[in-house]
């Protein structure tokens, strides 16, 4: 078996920004002194006149991008998820969200997979913060192929968009020659009828591993990639609820306010279903090698498998 390619979604972002920059003159990119880490530096090198470093001033950066948007630019604004969505939350809400400005917020270093930097930098609240802003599209691509598509879709979409990107190199799940993407569409990656695993970001690949293990135990698990957290693909999720009986959500995010809560709210109102939320259980992260940190918090195939056994009773 050929070795699986691993690429960090922040790298996909930098590469796609550079492509888009060549295609569209209205793209302008802003960063807050993290262009090397967020990979906006790739764009900056190619188009120095359309890159604005705001220094370590995220609040200012968000509103500067709002002003640029009113001039006709399509700003892509980047920092770490903690500082972009956390520090500048109210700027995003009032200066980007409320006026419906066409600004793309692309944050890297989201979730526990930041690893060694520890809890201060491991943002597990960004879905919650961005989801509650009316009109905001929230996406969390699983791999390189999906991240490239999400960044392109963000440009094509008129209005505010948040994209969560990761620091760690993660396996490429999708075949780029056989891949379709649309904002708001979840994708069934593996059919199944005993239980449905709804995953986002790097948890998608772990959900596929879990399904493989479950099949050996005679459990037929459906795996769904939910890249767009908002607007949620109600049709695909409610079909899974109807056909599989139980749902397991998997996210590298707090169980408060993220995919799990979105799915639980949807099913509670429209089709009451047993739901189990796998995520960060209302606690802070810790420092360590990122894979070890994910294991410590149960964000792995083994835990998904155990929860599936419990939920199905098999």
């Amino acid at each position: 078996m050929a070795e699986i390619k691993k690429i960090a979604t922040r790298d996909s972002y930098g590469a796609t920004l550079r492509e888009l920059g060549a295609e569209h003159e209205d793209i302008i990119v802003l960063d807050a002194d993290l262009s090397g880490s967020t990979r906006t530096g790739v764009f900056a090198k190619a188009f120095p006149d359309r890159f604005i470093n705001c220094g370590i001033a995220e609040a200012d950066m968000i509103c500067v991008s709002g002003g640029l948007s009113t001039m006709g630019f399509v700003p892509f604004c980047s920092s770490f998820a903690m500082f972009l969505t956390g520090r500048a939350y109210e700027q995003i809400r009032n200066t980007i969200g409320y006026p419906e400005l066409n600004v793309k917020l692309c944050a890297s270093h989201a979730g526990l997979s930041v690893g060694e930097d520890g809890a201060s930098h491991q943002c597990c609240e960004d879905f919650a913060l961005m989801r509650n802003i009316p009109g905001m599209v929230v996406m969390s691509p699983a791999d390189d192929v999906e991240a490239r598509a999400a960044v392109r879709a963000a440009y094509a979409h008129k209005g505010p968009v948040y994209i969560r990107l990761g620091r760690a190199a993660v396996p490429v799940v999708f075949d780029e020659n056989n891949f379709e993407f649309a904002i708001g569409k979840a994708q069934v990656l593996r059919p199944g009828k005993d239980v449905a695993i709804l995953a986002t970001g790097l948890m998608v690949e772990r959900a596929l591993q879990a399904a493989e293990q479950l099949s050996l135990a005679g459990i037929d698990a459906r795996v769904i990639d939910v890249c767009t957290i908002k607007p949620l693909d109600e049709e695909v999720i409610l079909s899974a609820a109807a056909e599989c009986g139980g749902l397991i959500t998997c996210e590298e995010h707090s169980i408060v306010g993220g995919l799990g809560e979105a799915v639980a709210s949807l099913t509670a109102e429209k089709l009451p279903t047993r739901v189990r939320r796998i995520g960060v259980e209302d606690v802070y992260g810790v420092s360590g090698p990122w894979k070890d940190v994910l294991d410590l918090f149960g964000l792995n195939a083994a835990h998904i498998t155990a929860v599936a056994h419990e939920l199905t009773g098999k």
Binding site: I28, D49, R50, I52, C54, G55, A57, A59, D60, I62, C63, V64, S65, G66, G67, L68, S69, T70, M71, G72, F73, E90, Q91, N94, T95, Y98, P99, E100
Partner: protein, 281 residues
């Protein structure tokens, strides 16, 4: 400026003050004090200085105005209405259900509003974005923004000032409405931002201080600001909160409440008398 032009501006400023009273009276809320202190500057910008077109509010080459102290919306709305962006009659709908005139400026609903504001400290950053955008697009547009003197207690304002200087935004004019009062009291007793001029200078601005109710001083200062190349300009406006309505002047109580019927009558009578006197000139 001829004396006729000056009188015409004074008359317009008086009508805008009447609009502020009309709006906040009908809304039974709002911020008359800071609207009245900024009314003369806003009058000057919209009726003598800025290149705007009420028939084409989104004209790409226009000058931009960001009311960073968004609570002075009644003054901006009155100016826009009198300038022809929407009917003057609409001022009475301020803060009402279904009105375009939200409590704080909303660029989506009000023609002529260049940026939604209201949360202090954010408008000045947006103005920086417009100014750098205009430069990158080689537009002749200049960008004007008014901040409250209390507003500059927000840290983001200083991030924006650093940005304006670093990117040499000489098409940006930052104005500070220095009326000395914020909600909780005199700014020197809440959290003094003084010395304002020295701080702005240290942040790289070309700084001027003028009487914020003197149209001739505004003319001189804005012309001088326009000549300044390679750095942003700041104009500290020495103003009186509540200016033009005797019982509101320098009274912190008038920061954020609407006049009642009796107060409305008194204020409108004062302003009408002032307008009549000017018309007799």
């Amino acid at each position: 400026m001829t004396s006729e032009e000056r009188t015409s501006l004074r008359r317009m400023a008086c009508k805008i003050r009447m609009g502020i009273i009309e709006g906040t009276y009908n809304a039974k809320s709002g911020h008359p004090g800071g609207s009245l202190s900024a009314a003369d500057m806003i009058t000057y910008l919209y009726f003598r200085h800025m290149r705007v077109d009420p028939q084409n509010p989104r004209w790409q080459e226009r000058d931009r105005f960001v009311l960073s102290k968004g609570h002075a919306a009644p003054a901006l709305y009155a100016a826009l209405a009198h300038r022809g962006f929407f009917p003057v009659e609409e001022i009475k709908s301020l803060r009402h259900i279904g009105s375009r005139l939200q409590g704080h400026p909303n660029m989506l609903s009000v023609p002529g509003v260049d940026m939604s504001t209201g949360s202090l400290g954010q408008g000045v950053s947006s103005a920086c974005g417009m100014a750098i955008g205009a430069k990158k697009l080689n537009l002749p547009s200049r960008v004007y923004t008014i901040l409250g003197d209390g507003e500059i207690e927000e840290g983001q304002v200083w991030e924006a000032f650093m940005f304006a200087n670093y990117y040499k935004l000489d098409n940006l004019v930052v104005m500070i409405d220095n009326n000395n009062l914020q909600i909780d009291g005199p700014i020197t007793e809440v959290m003094s931002p003084y010395p304002i001029e020295e701080k702005l200078s240290a942040f790289g601005f070309f700084v001027q201080t003028i009487d914020g109710h003197d149209f001739d001083a505004m003319e001189t200062a804005l012309a001088r600001a326009q000549q300044e190349k390679g750095r942003p300009s700041a104009i500290v406006l020495k103003t009186v909160k509540g200016k033009g309505v005797s019982f509101m002047e320098n009274e912190v109580d008038w920061h954020g409440k609407g006049p009642n019927q009796e107060e409305y009558n008194r204020a409108m009578e004062e302003l009408s008398n002032a307008l009549r006197e000017m018309e007799a000139e």
